[in-house]
Structure formats: C-alpha cells, structure tokens
C-alpha cells in the first residue's frame, strides 16, 4: 500500500525532468526539436513527394512529355488535363502537349503519375509552398509553371534522377549508333 498521491508526484517529477533536460539534450534525444519554420527549415528528405512537375532537358522547348495521356487516364482523382499539339501544316499529332494542366487543388499527391509515365517525364516535386489566393486561376497549373529543368530534378532527387539520366543517355547513344550504322549505305551509293 503506497501513500496516496505518490503516483501524481512521480508524474510531476517526470514533467520537471523533461522540462529541465529539454534545454540541453539533443533534438533526437528528448531535446527541443521544433523548427521555427519561415526562418529555419527542416532537412529535406529526398523521397518526399508533393505535387507533380514536368521535366525538360536543357531548354524548356525540349520537353520530355509526348502527350500520350497515360498519366491523365491513370490519375486517381483525375486532376491532369492534356491536349496534344498538332503540326501546323499537316494537322498530324505532334507528340507534344499543347495543353498540360494539373489542378493542384485536386491532386492528392499519390505519385501514380510518376509510376506509370513511360517517358520519364512527370515526377513528384519537393516544392510545398504553393498557396494561392484563387482556386481556379493559380492552383490550376499550366504547362509553363509545371516545367522544371532536369538539373533541378537532379538536385532535389539525385537518387531517382541519376539512374533515369543514365538510362536515357544509353538509349540515345544506342539510337545514334543505330542511325550511324543505317545511314552510310544511303550517303555512299
């Protein structure tokens, strides 16, 4: 039979200990771990996914997306809208998106588009400061604001971007050697 109130006292000792030690313990060991957000920032974790963006190589004209529409079809909340561009003279499909919009207000950050894209074009971004005052104008992101360079992609997600780059470079070289092998008979008859 213990004295009534010892449990409460024991608890108070715990809170007192925590209060005192929180000032000199390390953040991962019971110390103060809060980050004063706008001034300080927490460490970015590489696999963090937020909203999708489109990758281009070099200049924004060299967009990887071919407007195949797979991400549009597979997106669970259906937040992607794509219209394929047509060639000016012939009217044939140009394998480039004329319109590529993502409704950030609808997107649920699942990463499905990244999983299904066969052209390594759409990836999940780290940018989380995407607030807007207008739901219909600013949150529906057009192609221009979705496009980000491959260098940016390499910077935020090197673990994903480097193998993709290697794969693309290998494919390009293979194509070049195949072309080089195919062209000489034509030029030298």
């Amino acid at each position: 039979m213990t004295l009534f109130g010892t449990g409460v006292l024991k608890g108070l000792i715990v809170t007192l200990k925590n209060f005192a030690t929180s000032y000199f313990r390390k953040p991962d060991n019971g110390g103060i771990f809060t980050v004063q957000y706008p001034e300080e920032r927490a460490k970015e974790i590489e696999s963090f996914r937020n909203f999708p963006f489109l990758v281009y190589d070099g200049t924004p004209e060299k967009i990887r997306c071919v407007a195949c529409g797979i991400c549009e079809r597979e997106c669970p909340p259906k937040c992607i809208h794509i219209v394929m561009e047509t060639e000016a003279g012939t009217g044939k499909p140009a394998k480039r998106p004329a319109v590529f919009e993502i409704d950030y207000g609808l997107c649920m950050n699942c990463g499905m588009c990244e999983d299904v894209c066969p052209f390594d074009s759409i990836y999940m971004d780290h940018a989380f400061e995407v607030t807007a005052s207008d739901r219909t104008q600013e949150l529906v992101r057009p192609k221009e604001t979705l496009l980000k360079s491959n260098d940016y992609f390499l910077k935020i997600r090197p673990g994903t971007a480097t193998p993709v780059d290697q794969k693309r470079r290998a494919a390009e070289e293979k194509k070049k050697t195949a072309q080089a092998a195919a062209t000489p008979p034509k030029t030298n008859p």
């Binding site: 449990g7 024991k10 608890g11 996914r49 669970p76 649920m108 699942c110 990463g111 499905m112």
Partner: protein
C-alpha cells in the same frame, strides 16, 4: 427517438456533442440524454465525413485504390495499405517476397506504435491533462514519421504497399535508424508510464468506468484492443498468422475488467509487444527482391491487372481492430464490389452500452478509449 415512458416525471436534458466538439475526435456527433449528470441514453450520429470511398474504388483500377485506402484511417495508413494489399494478393494469387514481407511487418508495427501513442495522448487530453502527454507522445511519433517519409515519401499518406511487395527498398541506414528508435523506445515508455500508469487521478477517472463485459463485446463483433481489454484472447496476428506473424515470438496482452483503464493499459503493453516483434524482424530481415516478378508489369500498366473472376477477403489486425477488405472481381480492371470492414465503425456500436449509467464527463473518455477515426467510420 427515445422511450419517453421510462422518463416520466424526470427532467430530461438532451445534449448534442459534436459534430464540431473538440473531444469527439473528428466530425462525430453524440446525442446524449441526461438526467442530472447521469446518461440515460446516447445516440451516435455518423456520416459527416462520408466520401463515397467504396464507390470511388469500384470505378478505379485496383492499383489506384491503394492511395485512397490511406485516407481511411489516416493515423496508420501503413496498416490500411497492408489489408488492401493482402486482399488483392489473395484475389490474384500473388505472394510478397521475403524481404518485402519483413518490411511490411516492420512498417505495420511502427504504425501500431504511432497509433497507440496518439490514442493514449488524446485520451489524456480528454481527461483534462492538456497536451503534456500528447506532446511527449508526439516527440516519439515524429521520429517514426520521419522513417515513413524516408521510405514512402509521405509522413501520413504513405501509399507504400504494392500488390506483391512494397514500393521502395529500404536502405541499410534507414534500417539502422529504425533499430535506434526501437532501442530507445522502452526508456521513453518507462517514463511515459511513470507519468501515467500509477497516477491516482488517472486511476480514479478510468477504473470501473465504461465497463464492457466480454460476452457483449464478442456478441457485438468488437475487435482489437477494446475486445482484448475485456479479456478475450483474439488477435488476428495469432489467429490468421497473415504476413509473417507466425515467425515472431510475442504475447497478446489481455485486460481483466474491460474498463477504460484496461483499454489504456492493454495499449501500453501492446506497444511493448510491437517492439519485440520489431526487434526480431530487424534482426532477421534478409536481402532480396521487394516485388514479386508476377506483379512487376502491372506497375507501369495498372489497367492490365485483371484478376480472375472470384472474391477475396483480406483482413489484418489494424491497431484499432479487424480491418477487412472484401473484393469481388468480374474479370475487369476494376473491382465489381469493394467493401471495407472498418473496426472504428463496429467498435462504436457498443458506445451506448458502455455509457448508460455513467456521468456525462465519462462519455468523453469512453469514446476516447474506443479509438475511433472518422475517416474510417464514415468512409
């Protein structure tokens, strides 16, 4: 709505708790009928967070539903993913490779610890111990959520499981980080218990309050820690031994009386058992594939995944109880019927039985001790 005959001559007071009351854990409403401070009837009202989860799933390919299951019980999306993955794997006859199966167990047990920490913290909030226990719990939860973010990309909406495996392999550094958390957790738990378990105020408020008799719990289909607190030894990890749970050595903690205190204490003990499982899993996790070869083509083309005509029921011991997914396939890329057996909803059915005869302040902690999440209750 209420039998007025028995209430003749007495002053009845009807109080609406919720749907915006801070202690109802979300948008849940209780119609409480009081005589003085004593509860004589209680009607739960649900549906404020209904999002048509089941119908959405019936119009999507199987793989896309995984992201929606995160939103059911948003405190432990890993457990929800696990149940759904098991159901689809049963339907399509795919098995997860060894390493993936270990990763699943590790993630599910980490999710259980997160969930129980949150529950105990908020139960103490309901009792009036404002935010000290919650923030101690959050301090530990934060470390586990960092692990979740590292492996899946998101702290809470993990979307980590795939049919026949998991989305991403876990690096040796992450496994070492999990080991460090597991090694440091018992010390925190000791401290947490020193703060709470023997606290006289907590004992007086919780003991012999909201007693749920074992026979009523079994008849009402209650599962999870609420059932085990009433002394019924029923844990799907032992009964079904899904995943790899038959390989681990752990006990099923049981309560004696089935009051709020037992429900609190069973969860503390369950966290200790989870740590045991985690220790064993981390020691034994092998190298190897994280995705079954059979499931690989469906990652890029989810609409090619067409399970044969049939039905399957996959269930797991989620931190809240038996979480089951019932799927009927008609051979198309979408499930023909998809149903979720949400433990929160079914555990709520005995709320009135536990509350009648108690004081109105106890209704709050009884609700808190059931551990409901409205995302799952209303779907």
């Amino acid at each position: 709505m209420i039998n007025t005959k028995s209430l003749e001559g007495s002053q009845m007071l009807e109080i609406n708790f919720g749907p915006q009351h801070p202690s109802t854990h979300g948008v849940f409403r209780m119609n409480v009928f009081l005589e003085g401070e004593k509860i004589c009837a209680l009607k739960p009202v649900m549906g404020y967070l209904h999002r048509n989860h089941e119908l959405i799933a019936e119009n999507l390919p199987y793989a896309a539903v995984m992201a929606y299951t995160d939103r059911l019980d948003y405190f432990n999306s890993m457990a929800n993913n696990f149940g759904y993955a098991l159901a689809v794997e049963k339907l399509a006859d795919i098995e997860a490779p060894e390493r993936a199966a270990y990763l699943r167990v590790i993630m599910a047990e980490l999710a259980r610890i997160v969930n129980h920490l949150m529950l105990i913290g908020f139960l103490l909030n309901d009792l009036g111990a404002f935010f000290t226990p919650v923030l101690y719990a959050f301090r530990e939860r934060e470390k586990i959520l960092d692990i979740f973010e590292e492996v899946s990309g998101s702290r809470m909406m993990c979307n980590y499981f795939r049919f026949g495996g998991v989305k991403r392999d876990v690096s040796a550094e992450t496994l070492a980080a999990i080991k460090k958390i597991v090694a440091g957790f018992p010390a925190f738990l000791e401290e947490f218990e020193a703060l709470l378990t023997e606290n006289e105020i907590l004992c007086m408020r919780c003991q012999n309050v909201g007693v749920l008799p074992a026979d009523l719990a079994v008849n009402a289909g209650i599962t999870g820690p609420v059932l085990r607190a009433s002394g019924v030894n029923y844990d799907l990890r032992k009964v079904d031994a899904y995943g790899l749970y038959d390989r681990f050595d752990f006990k099923v903690p049981l309560g004696k009386k089935g009051d709020v205190y037992d429900r609190y204490y069973v969860r503390v003990l369950e966290m200790r058992e989870s740590l045991k499982i985690l220790e064993q899993a981390l020691a034994k996790i092998p190298q190897g594939d994280i995705l079954n070869k059979k499931a690989l083509p469906f990652l890029k083309a989810p609409r090619n995944f067409k399970p044969a005509v049939g039905e399957a029921y996959g269930r797991i011991e989620s931190p809240k109880g038996e979480l089951g997914y019932y799927l009927v396939s008609d051979g198309t890329p979408q499930p023909w019927r998809y149903h979720v057996r949400a433990p929160s909803l079914i555990n709520l059915t005995v709320l009135e039985d536990m509350c009648v005869g108690q004081k109105v302040a106890d209704a709050i902690i009884i609700l808190g001790s059931i551990d409901i999440v409205l995302g799952e209750t209303d779907r």
